[in-house]
């Protein structure tokens, strides 16, 4: 069932050999082949643009009003690449090694190596497109550090790197739209996959303005629809981010890989109340300059400024002297939870820790004073100069923090707490990014492939663009080369009719419930179950309870949800209802997967399996595999295992001390 199609040969030659031997489609035939791309974030926009440039006929879909709004736009910190511009010992191998280790040895060596190999091309491509990365005075590109890594390989554009990369990909996409190679369908949402003779041949999409269902044919279908963090209701994802496209694929035969691998990001603005609709990330790059601490005294109610230095516990620096504040995300999140659970949390909710920049103000201020030739600067002068430097680096993040909390982070330390941010799990794909359904691909966060059980910072942008710009243009040819004999299938084909009918019936049954509880209320309840029992720490008992509760919630949803309006009109509640219905089913699978994995690794922390000092305890003998789940009907999945082989790296316990 699971054939990963990893090319033979030594690790460093696999991708080169693959490219040298994969099938090609000649330009005249490319014009006859149609490709559907669902989602226009970094993976989708870069894939649609690159495939359009190659001459394929592309149709791209997004649910937002413009492809430029996809949630990749919100990525803040940066993008990794093995350029070694800093001469600090970086290389393709080191990026590969850091990523596999960061993922706690639950990713595929060959995929990750390829990712590291193409990382340098991504930076070149983006620069050529006019992405205004940060630069040094000499005109060269600037780098910064990110968590889990000891070199400086992160390229950035202030705190808006995702925005700039997405605008680059969006512009490349719009250029192809202008040239007629890509047809763009905004405010459209994919509702179903059409499979004919075992191959993905199209989709049913809903025009979100008119509510009408539409049929689209493609020789291949690419899902670039992002992650499913919104299953937790509160996450750093956009309000519209959803699992629907991936879930439809799953229910049509595509296996779902490692669904329980969720990334909880350590530095987010804490929850303030029940009204909260989403959580906001404060970039990991802040951990370069901010120091994380809590009071040494339990339940200390003094203001941060009144707690003297010697009464502060810089717990990351204490526990992990080698990496300090720059340990990977899963480690930093758990450490914050541990302190808060023990009663050392700060703020009114006590569910927060401090991220403090005062040391950075002083350090940068002293350097600046030197640069400006100020002798014997006063403390105020130093702090003020230092704040200028920090403002230039992270100004937009500080502004955002102040707008949300009403507190000025230049004066008082930020309060932060972990929040759901990214999902490493996703549709299972082989080396060519194809799911278990022929002709159906998954790119970017929508697939499971490269980050194992924990993603390192600044690697999501890298993976999305690697898949879209540099992997799929090659691997899709290997499939489409045999499709040149197949003419486009009419959307009157029976399979399209059946798929459309299925969608229509589901919409009708949702509308016909006319119950008493709103979609939002169900989503909140699902989120609470997931966060409490399948969040930062999990245990068998809690997961079993969660499964029962989710099954109950599903019943209740399908008998008591209240959706206003009609089907054939703009109806945002109906859109949301469809997404929440899919999240409920996914939530169950996530808990099943978490329960199956009797070990702790990366972001998956099972309380039963930890080292004496509270670190994740892997069980390589029994769980060194990708858990790929096959949908078998309501509440019923079959587990398939793809064993992970480490030929080059020797898995050890991750050590950031």
């Amino acid at each position: 069932m699971l054939e990963s199609k990893i090319p033979p040969g030594s690790l460093e030659h696999k991708w080169t050999d693959y490219k040298g031997h994969c099938k090609l489609v000649n330009p005249a035939n490319k014009r006859k082949l149609e490709i559907i791309v669902v989602g226009t974030g970094l993976a989708g926009a870069s894939a649609a643009a690159s495939l359009g440039e190659l001459g394929y006929k592309v149709k791209a879909f997004c649910f937002q009003d413009s492809p430029r709004r996809a949630h990749s736009i919100a990525a803040q910190g940066g993008i990794n690449a093995a350029k070694n511009y800093q001469n600090d010992g970086d290389s393709v191998f080191r990026l590969f090694y850091d990523t596999v280790k960061g993922g706690d040895y639950r990713s595929r060596e060959a995929n990750v190596y390829r990712l590291a190999e193409v990382s340098a091309n991504i930076i070149d491509q983006c620069v050529a497109q006019g992405v205004p990365f940060a630069r040094e005075y000499g005109g060269v590109l600037s780098n910064r550090s990110f968590g889990g890594v000891q070199v400086q390989r992160t390229f950035y554009a202030a705190g808006q790197t995702g925005q700039q990369l997405l605008i680059g990909a969006y512009q490349a996409l719009e250029r192809q739209v202008a040239l007629g190679n890509v047809k763009m369908y905004a405010r459209h949402e994919m509702q179903e996959i059409v499979v004919i003779d075992g191959k993905a041949r199209g989709i049913i999409a809903r025009d979100l303005i008119s509510g009408k269902l539409e049929r689209y044919f493609g020789h291949a279908v690419l899902l670039c629809s992002g992650g499913y963090g919104n299953v937790f209701y509160l996450s750093t994802n956009a309000m519209g981010s959803n699992v629907t496209a991936a879930w439809k694929a799953h229910k049509n035969g595509a296996l779902f890989g490692n669904p329980c691998f969720t990334q909880i990001h350590p530095t987010c603005i804490p929850v303030t109340g029940d009204h909260q609709s989403k959580l906001t990330l404060m970039s990991e790059s802040l951990r370069n300059d901010g120091r994380i601490w809590v009071p040494k005294q339990k339940g200390d109610t003094r203001k941060a400024s009144q707690i003297p230095e010697e009464e502060r516990d810089y717990y990351l620096e204490r526990r992990y002297p080698a990496f300090g504040n720059l340990v990977p995300r899963d480690v930093a999140s758990r450490a914050a939870k541990e302190r808060c659970d023990e009663g050392y949390g700060v703020g009114s909710s006590k569910q927060a820790v401090y991220l403090d920049f005062s040391a950075a103000f002083e350090r940068y201020g002293t350097t600046e004073a030197g640069i400006h030739g100020i002798d014997n600067p006063s403390k105020e002068q130093i702090i003020s100069l230092g704040k200028q430097v920090v403002k230039e680096k992270y100004g937009n993040l500080f502004d955002m923090y102040e707008k949300i909390t009403g507190e000025n982070p230049y004066e008082v330390p930020m309060r932060i707490y972990p929040a759901v941010h990214y999902t490493m799990g996703g549709l299972w794909v082989d080396y060519e990014l194809m799911t278990t359904v022929k002709g159906l691909y998954a790119l970017g966060e929508a697939n499971f492939s490269d980050h194992g059980a924990n993603r390192l910072g600044a690697s999501a942008l890298m993976q999305g663009l690697a898949d879209g710009y540099f992997v799929i243009p090659y691997t899709i040819g290997n499939y489409l080369a045999d499709e040149i004999y197949n003419k486009p299938i009419s959307t009157d084909h029976e399979a399209f009719q059946i798929a459309e009918k299925k969608v229509q019936e589901r919409l009708e049954s949702l509308m016909s419930i006319q119950g008493t509880q709103t979609v939002e209320s169900f989503h909140k309840r699902l989120g609470k179950i997931m966060w409490d029992k399948c969040g930062m720490a999990r245990n068998a008992n809690g997961l079993q309870q969660a499964i029962t509760e989710i099954q109950q919630l599903k019943k209740e949803f399908w008998s008591d949800v209240k959706i206003p309006g009609g089907i054939n009109e703009l109806n945002t509640e109906l859109d949301k209802a469809g997404r929440v219905a899919d999240f409920i089913e996914l939530g169950e699978l996530m808990c099943i997967d978490a329960l199956n994995r009797n070990e702790s690794c990366g972001g998956h922390f099972r309380e039963e399996y930890q080292t004496p000092d509270g670190e994740a305890l892997r069980d390589d003998a029994n769980y060194m595999y990708v858990a790929a789940w096959q949908y078998k009907g309501d509440h019923n999945w079959e587990l398939h295992k793809e064993p992970l082989q480490y030929d080059v790296i020797k898995p050890t316990q991750r050590n950031y001390k």
Partner: protein, 254 residues
């Protein structure tokens, strides 16, 4: 920061679809926390409406962290409301007091037709980008990133222009519904970089032509756009656009 709760009267534009005639409707919301965002207050209102069997208010929103550019409410006569350099989703209720009446309208511009209630169609912006808001480089063509040196000031200014989120507040703020700030931000982003140089003449001529075709008005030099811009895109960009346009008209062959 002191937290408080408030009761509010909302006067909101309701319009069934593109062709319908719209009107204002009054709503009342109670016990709104000063810690909520403006859109979370709308969530509360919509939940209330759904439970009462009424039609919820349609509005665009997505990231809720001020970067996607999707939210677009005209609040008390200002795009994105009373705060400077801010988007609607980042506006928080502490900007308001108990018993305030808040007027909420969609963007108003011929080039941005209303779809429903507070949602408008901004696809004209995409078509302006299609007219030339890019650098024509196919994937795989690139040279090493550091082979192209960019003066730091130019890179910084280019980035400052590229921060535009395409929300359309500039158009909504302008009495002529001009899109000059949006177009100038893209022109500046690309014109300030060496990579953007080869296409600079055609780019500016074609983008301006498309902007006119979409029905956006002329620039009035009032600066309302700059004042409303959530990303503080500078009016200097419009000067640069005019400069680029003039140069291009003199040298472009077609």
């Amino acid at each position: 920061m002191e937290h408080y709760t408030m009761n509010l009267n909302l006067k909101v534009w309701k319009q069934k679809d593109k062709n319908a005639k719209g009107s204002f409707k009054m709503y009342r919301v109670e016990n709104i926390s000063s810690e909520m965002s403006f859109l979370e207050m709308f969530d509360v209102l919509n939940e209330q409406l759904i439970k009462a069997g009424e039609d919820p208010i349609a509005f665009d929103h997505d990231c809720r962290e001020g970067i996607c550019g999707m939210c677009s409410m005209y609040i008390n006569g200002k795009p994105h409301g009373p705060w400077q350099a801010n988007t609607t989703c980042q506006l928080h209720m502490r900007a308001f007091q108990n018993e305030d009446t808040i007027v909420v309208e969609p963007w108003r511009a011929n080039a941005f037709p209303v779809i429903k209630d507070l949602m408008v169609d901004r696809s004209a912006f995409d078509r302006i980008i299609q007219a030339g808001g890019y650098i024509s480089v196919n994937t795989g063509n690139a040279v090493d990133g550091n082979a192209i040196l960019v003066d730091k000031d130019n890179a910084d200014n280019s980035f400052a222009a590229a921060m535009c989120i395409g929300c359309g507040a500039c158009v909504a703020a302008c009495k002529n519904s001009s899109a000059m700030l949006f177009v100038s931000a893209k022109i500046s982003h690309l014109a300030l970089l060496p990579q953007g140089d080869p296409e600079r003449h055609h780019r500016v001529i074609n983008m301006i032509a498309q902007m006119d075709k979409e029905g956006f008005g002329s620039c009035t030099n009032t600066g309302a756009c700059e004042a409303a811009c959530p990303k503080e895109i500078s009016l200097t960009n419009i000067a640069r656009l005019n400069n680029e346009y003039l140069k291009a008209s003199l040298v472009a062959e077609k």
